[in-house]
């Protein structure tokens, strides 16, 4: 049995340890570290394809979704990996979508020691004017990417599968999606149309739609006219494993197994300890 003095020493040591842990540097609490644009390691919100989501003629107005959340997050694409042979579309529907996509892609490219000058982004529709931005500085809102595992979401110009753009009308906050162009090797649409017009055509190509937006309901609505493409709304800093997990649409196994396994193992321990089953002991 522990003596009282030992208990006090143990308690004092514990208290000091507790203080150290509580007031440790914040970055340890935040964990992970990594790229400056992705220090946040928050959870994800899954927004599935659903028939029950409202569709407003292919246009989505945030005013119709008062419960919509707001995400002031920039850049997560540098963390995103897509499984081999999977095709994904990344969409940002925020006013800072350029920063979101551009910074993320740029950082990712730099991380891969890719010369940013070789990056070629097509996209950017701002108030009706199409712009082409190079050097990874900006991409307005949407990146459509066909990517190999562990490859940048958008790779160098000769390997970019397709890049598109959507429009963000800042003034009215009426997010009407327009797909002004697509690469020639896929399908080229011209003019202005809603994303629901283009998604059915892309549906066969896409395995995953990753959305980042201010309106949580937003893109679950967008795909209602398409094939049942899984749509996910991500926050910054999602890891490859998480992406693959949501693509499999399954909770993590550690979540499923941790405590039930501990409970089961300790139950077995009790069964042995309290001699529920006769244990033949040597000697």
């Amino acid at each position: 049995m522990m003596k009282g003095s030992q208990l006090y020493k143990f308690g004092s040591l514990t208290f000091v340890l507790m203080l150290l842990m509580i007031f440790q540097p914040v970055q340890i609490v935040n964990g992970h570290g990594g790229a400056s644009t992705s220090t946040y390691k928050g959870p994800m919100l899954l927004v599935p394809y659903t028939n029950s989501s409202p569709v407003i003629d292919g246009k989505i107005n945030l005013k119709d979704f008062p419960e919509a959340g707001h995400f002031n997050i920039t850049g997560f694409l540098d963390e995103v990996r897509i499984s081999h042979n999977k095709t994904a579309m990344f969409v940002s529907v925020t006013t800072d979508g350029a920063e979101f996509a551009g910074v993320g892609v740029k950082n990712r490219a730099l991380h891969k020691n890719t010369n940013p000058d070789s990056l070629f982004f097509v996209g950017g529709v701002n108030n009706g004017s199409v712009s082409t931005v190079k050097n990874g500085s900006y991409i307005q809102s949407v990146v459509l990417s066909h990517s190999d595992y562990d490859a940048p979401v958008v790779e160098t110009s000769n390997r970019v599968s397709f890049v598109g753009a959507v429009n963000v009308v800042n003034d009215t906050r009426n997010y009407e999606f327009m797909i002004p162009l697509l690469p020639e090797n896929y399908h080229r649409s011209s003019g202005v149309g809603s994303v629901t017009d283009i998604l059915p055509e892309l549906g066969a190509l896409l395995d995953l739609v990753v959305i980042r937006g201010e309106g949580d309901n937003l893109l679950s609505t967008v795909v209602t006219k398409t094939q049942p493409i899984p749509v996910y709304l991500l926050r910054v800093g999602e890891t490859a494993a998480q992406i693959e997990q949501i693509m499999a649409n399954s909770p993590s196994w550690e979540t499923i197994l941790l405590w039930p396994s501990i409970l089961f193992i300790l139950s077995v321990y009790f069964v042995v300890k309290y001699e529920v089953v006769p244990i033949r002991r040597s000697n």
């Binding site: 143990f10 842990m21 959870p43 899954l46 659903t50 649409n249 941790l258 039930p260 139950s267 001699e275």
Partner: protein, 347 residues
Amino acid sequence: MDSIEHVSDNNGSSKWFDINVLRYAVPNSANSFGYVLGSLLLFSFLVMGITGALLGLFYTPNPQLANQSVTEITNNVFMRYIRGVHIWTAEIIPVLIFLHIIRITLTGSYKGKRQINWFLGIILLLTTFTLIFTGSVLKWDQAGFEALAHFEEIGKIFAPLGGILFTSELTVTAPLLSRIYLFHVSILPMVLILLIGAHVTVIKLVGISSLPKEEKIWRQESQISFLDHIKAVTLYSISFFVAISVLSLFFPAVSRPAPIVGTEVSRPDWIFLPWYPLENIWGVMAIVIFPSIITFLLFIIPLIDREENRNPRKGRQRIAVAIVLFIPLMILVLNILSGVLKPAQHL
């Protein structure tokens, strides 16, 4: 109450408390891990109460602001730690409860005078799970929102039996979330405190259970006192708290985005995960059927086994042992199933 009383010392002066009243003999097994689980649970509830009160200073039970307030809490380093302790303790409490139940069953400690404590324990179990459930709703993320949607569906089915209390249809003046908050921070804790008080009182009256093989001899051979038991429990509790703190700091609490109305995409926390595959079979009624089966099975244990013999390998205690050992196995299997089966819409 013999532990807190006025005791005169040799000088005739009065002391409000004499430590010697705690030096009565208890079974040697009282300090083993299996026998301190109840005390650890008591400590866990204390931790939950303190951390919950701190969280309550910053939480807003308003659907428009709840998620934001959770985010604000999580953004603060110290409050993130407090929330982490609250969440991790809530995760571990069900494990401690089931282990407590299993230990009691294996050692036949539910028999005789302790029968009443078994039934009190079952009500404590249900109250605790309701507390964990209401807590999981309060964070007001997608999982919490969907949990409440399921719960409200059951409330509608049982509306004439009082289920309407847990639906939005009761009133338009108070959101359901604030009612859940009321239950979580006020009504349920009060019930819990009363039940724990009764539970502990019965233990005090009938004494701490011993190992079956020591039942008739421990009073003569006991080498530890209740005070030693308190010290051991303190040590276990400190260790437990350190472990929880480490978990909270290295796997900190996170805030998830606000829920989306009209979607059903999340899966519940591990303790409610066994419901998930069962809902594929029974629909939302699984929320009622599953715990009812578990409660019924636990309830009948002392009724089936009225034998005085305390041997898990003999008599009707074998049935009790089979029932309680079925629980962790079932949780494990159902949780694995929930990961394997395709997700389905239950609402």
